[in-house]
Amino acid sequence: MAVLLVADVNEGALATDAVAKTLAAVASLGEVHVLVAGAGGEAAAAEAAKLSGVSKVLFADDHAYCHGMAESIAALVVNLAGSYRHICGAATAFNKNVLPRVAALLDVMVISDATAVIDADTFERPIYAGNAVQTVKSSDTKKVFTVRTATFTAADATGSAVVENVDGPGDAGLSAWVADKLATSDRPELTSAKVIVSGGRGVGSKESFDLIEGLADTLGAAVGASRAAVDSGYAPNDWQVGQTGKVVAPQLYVAIGISGAIQHLAGMKDSKVIVAINKDEEAPIFQVADYGLVADLFAAVPELIAKL
């Protein structure tokens, strides 16, 4: 039986990186069908069809599935579930909303944040905020799981799968979309960025956070933050990296004025290269940093911006 991969679609745009990395994670399970749900998703369906490893794209053209409405999308997935042994998606806000509901409706245990698919029944996942890795075997007849995509290499776009229209039960009538308040940014998206510059409590104020953003823009990077920086109002909620924020693994992660608490490391320790700038040479962040610079960030960051 094939794998059903539920694609994140926002405002008609495919979260290509998340889908392509999930494809890489499930490659060993066989044929993969990608579900693109929501009216106006033609372009997203066409884009998904180009990803290698996809054998078919299922496109559900209905307004009920727009805006990530979990109730209606889950009903659609359950409707399709009969033909699949594995139902999965990237561990994004979208799928964390939809897939647990699917699992509950199918009465199976959801396996969240899988970091490896060992075989058709066996998965690896982090526990205790990434301090341990657990291997679990599922005896459910259908596996519903989310994939932590950070460490997977995205499938390339050399495929050409067919796009097939599918019907579903439509509006589940349990919820209605009211409005989305979107934060728009020209910077790369945090979880797929190649470079991330993050600031912590050491940055000191919302105004000085401009320094972090300035360095990020110099490097074409996304901006991240520690929880302390978010709690203090220096940075918005969706920039938080860590156990209760986003999990990232860019090529380069620059931590500035961040001490390196275990809950922060949980979100970035798989980055390829870690740079830390901190004035305290004992800061635990230096224990995971490839390059550490003991310096006052208010001197070092402007100098970096000027010299890059």
Partner: protein, 80 residues
């Protein structure tokens, strides 16, 4: 209908129980139920095969200046 809502952790300040309410709570009856009373089957369908410590990350080096940092990132790590 019953609804489950998840919230951002900074949504609000939790309402802590006051001492008089903690005292009052002690006098409330406690009713014990099992999942079976509600017709719920809770036998786990996941078996833990093993739990291991992830590969640790080794500390790298300290650089002495911004210039050295840029040089390392450009020539050694090749990330900028």
């Amino acid at each position: 209908m019953p609804t489950i809502v998840t919230v951002d952790l900074r949504l609000n300040e939790p309402r802590y129980a006051s001492l008089p309410n903690i005292m009052k709570a002690k006098a409330k009856p406690l009713i014990f139920k099992t999942p079976a009373d509600y017709g719920v089957e809770v036998t786990p369908r996941l078996t833990v095969m093993k739990t291991v410590e992830p590969a640790g990350r080794k500390a790298g080096m300290k650089v002495a200046s911004v210039d050295e940092l840029i040089a390392k990132l450009a020539h050694e790590a090749g990330v900028i």
